[in-house]
């Protein structure tokens, strides 16, 4: 299934969601938004390599939540309330008065740091949703032409990264099977040789396909803004005014599913 949305639409949608979450400052709302965003990503994403970035964002968000909460519980000013458990207090020099490491962990303290962690993680996951729904190449095309050439070079460089990772694991496997102890040098030398050969191949291929031979490049697919994009962006904008509307904006894309399913599947 091709993505027919304008590449900016999903970014506007996710920025609006992120702002809404920050403004609403309600962890339950944030979790609900992440859940809905997950459904949207599941339905609208393609099988391209970048579509997996939602999962990476989800993992990153969880890590932030865990680290943020544990640090928040350990370090900071005490909040009085019901004590859950008590940690030994680390003695600190006098000039660091006001900061405390360890000590009583209260229910209030745990909740407040977890609350902040959830909001932060949810904002990051919203951006991950946008990047997994939008092709970076298509996004580049709607950016001003002046940065297009630079961007194309960047895209080529980034598309070499997955190949780089694959080469590393292949060479590592081969060396392991040769019964060698792994060392940086034994992987680096074949890797550099291969990457160099590959970049030369790519440069030769681009050159012989006329890249850079004319100053102006035409575009194969004009990228158009249609009614669906207006609906998604318009409703998203509403969530900036009232946190309650944020759930409406996150589910607006589902309204468009009906049309999407009407496209015959090959």
């Amino acid at each position: 299934m091709t993505d027919t949305r304008h590449p900016l639409t999903w970014w506007i949608w996710s920025i609006a969601l992120a702002l809404g979450i920050a403004r609403g400052n309600n962890p339950w709302l944030a979790i609900a938004v992440v859940g809905c965003a997950y459904l949207v990503v599941r339905i609208f994403r393609s099988d391209a390599p970048w579509s997996r970035s939602f999962e990476s964002g989800l993992k990153l968000g969880l890590w932030i939540l865990i680290i943020r909460t544990s640090f928040g519980v350990l370090i900071g000013t005490p909040i009085p309330g019901t004590t859950i458990f008590r940690l030994p207090i680390l003695p600190l020099p006098e000039w660091m008065a006001g900061i405390r490491i360890g000590g009583a962990v209260t229910q209030e303290r745990l909740f407040s740091t977890a609350h902040e962690g959830v909001i932060l993680a949810a904002i990051i996951i919203c951006f991950a949703a946008a990047s997994s729904l939008t092709s970076p190449h298509r996004l580049l095309r709607v950016l001003p032409f002046a940065i297009y050439q630079f961007g194309l070079a960047l895209v080529i460089a980034t598309s070499l990264v997955p190949q780089f990772v694959r080469s590393i694991s292949r060479i590592r496997d081969a060396q392991y099977l040769r019964g060698q102890k792994l060392s940086f040098k034994k992987i680096l030398i074949p890797l550099l040789e291969e990457s160099l050969a590959r970049s030369l191949d790519l440069a030769a291929a681009m050159d012989s396909r006329g890249y850079g031979s004319t100053r102006v490049r035409s575009r194969y697919r004009a990228i158009t803004w249609n009614a669906g994009d207006t609906v998604i962006c318009g409703v998203s904008a509403l969530s900036l005014f009232s946190p309650a509307l944020i759930l409406i904006s996150v589910i607006t894309p589902f309204v468009l599913i009906k049309r999407k399913l009407a496209v015959p599947v090959q």
């Binding site: 190449h137 392991y176 040769r178 019964g179 012989s208 006329g210």
Partner: protein, 535 residues
Amino acid sequence: MITFAAVSLIYPNSTKTVLENLSLTIDEGEFVLVIGPTGSGKSSLLRLINGLVPHHTGGILAGDISVDGISTQLVKPGGLAHLIGIVGQNPINGFVTDTVEEELAFGMESLNIAPDVMRKRVEEILDLMSLAPLRDRSLATLSGGEQQRVAIGSALVMHPKVLVLDEPTSALDPIAAEEVLSILHRLVHDLGLTVVVAEHKLERVIQFADRIVHIDGLGNTRVGTPAQIMSDSDIAPPIVHLARALGLEDVGLTVRDMRRMSEQIRGGNYSHTIEEIELASETVIELLDVSLSFASNTVLKDIDLKISAGEVIALMGRNGAGKSSLLKTIVGLYECNTGSVSILGNNPLKISGAKRRETIGFIPQEPSDLLYGQSVLMECEQGDVDNEIKKGSTFELLNELVPGISPHTHPRDLSEGQRLALALSVVLSAKPKVLILDEPTRGLDYQAKSHLVGTLLRYARVLGRTVILATHDVELVAELATRVIFLADGDCVADGKTLDVLLSSPAFAPQVAKVMSPQPWLTVKDVINALEEIQ
């Protein structure tokens, strides 16, 4: 269409002349095949056509090359993009975008062609190359044959007058290769496209060629019709060797011609005493109910195998049938989801270091993955140290496999065949009980291949070791293997003697078998042996 006028080429810092005084005119609609040993300059000749040599690689060029009246000395490769389509050895290395459709359009966008023209041309090419169902697929998920078709398609979409291909079938299984070549054949005949192809596997392409350019590696070239060149060329497909061995007057280039010429020989009555190779009863590798899957994708399904010492096993099947996965499961890179693998009673996942070197030798698809030394000598000395053998024995072994490699050469500067031999000698110096090779013949010429066959046969017969190789090369299998295992979608669909498996499917039958059917002969040697027996 293409004119080479007294062309000589030499690379800087090299004393070897790549081409010397080559004059050649290729007409419109001609299919020209370039042959020669590895490293002889076939790729250089192809890249001269659109000026990648010397504009991109450097080198000193004398004489002039012109395509459709445009001299490549005056115009850069980009300026010829509308005229010449070029497809490299590894198409995936030349891909710029990430989906099939965008890749097809990339070249046209560079030339600033109007969007509506582009749309029409992309649709045409999608139909022509049967790529329509794949139009939105990510290029990384395509099989080898599909990638090759996309690469050819993105060259054709520019409506070039000349198409240049460097080893288009080397990574493909026989059926995918035939598909690609028949598309080229059709383009030559329907559109009058001029095609120049370099290829090692002559048995696949020779019947399509109008003319052959033979490069000998010393700068000398010969140009002629396939029949002329094949009458005395050292590089020849099995079918030509068969004609020579039978003492036929003409060399037949197609199976049909050869069948007509050899009717009498085929018709004789032969006693088929196939020499049985004595196998030790010792089981070396045992796979029980092995299944492997990645995410929701099943790669291997309930594979049961018993492999004895001294067997040479060929693993065949389409691109993506699970050959590499099976090899990686046997060597212990993948852990199977169900079932068990044992090599000489050990779990391959748990062998490491010196014990691994003595048990399993593995040559990956890219032999250079194993190499990290700065010279051939350093690489060999590392082998000696690792295996605690006499200093210099690994280099001696290399000299036996391929004589005449200078010990101070950098491994990267070796030809494909020499690099494979180096990796092989490093692995063999540990005398592993099992030797496993993944696609060893990619980019190898006939000479390097026969060296490889000799080495592996000696290793299996004399030392009684087991050899397993995954390959698409049916001719190699016919020469070498005692047993063939055929995989399809992770299932083992055939497992038996080489003769039985190869003869049962026409697509995977070697040339000699196609000519001599119904006689059960696979190689030229089989035919000669049978004929001698009757006399």
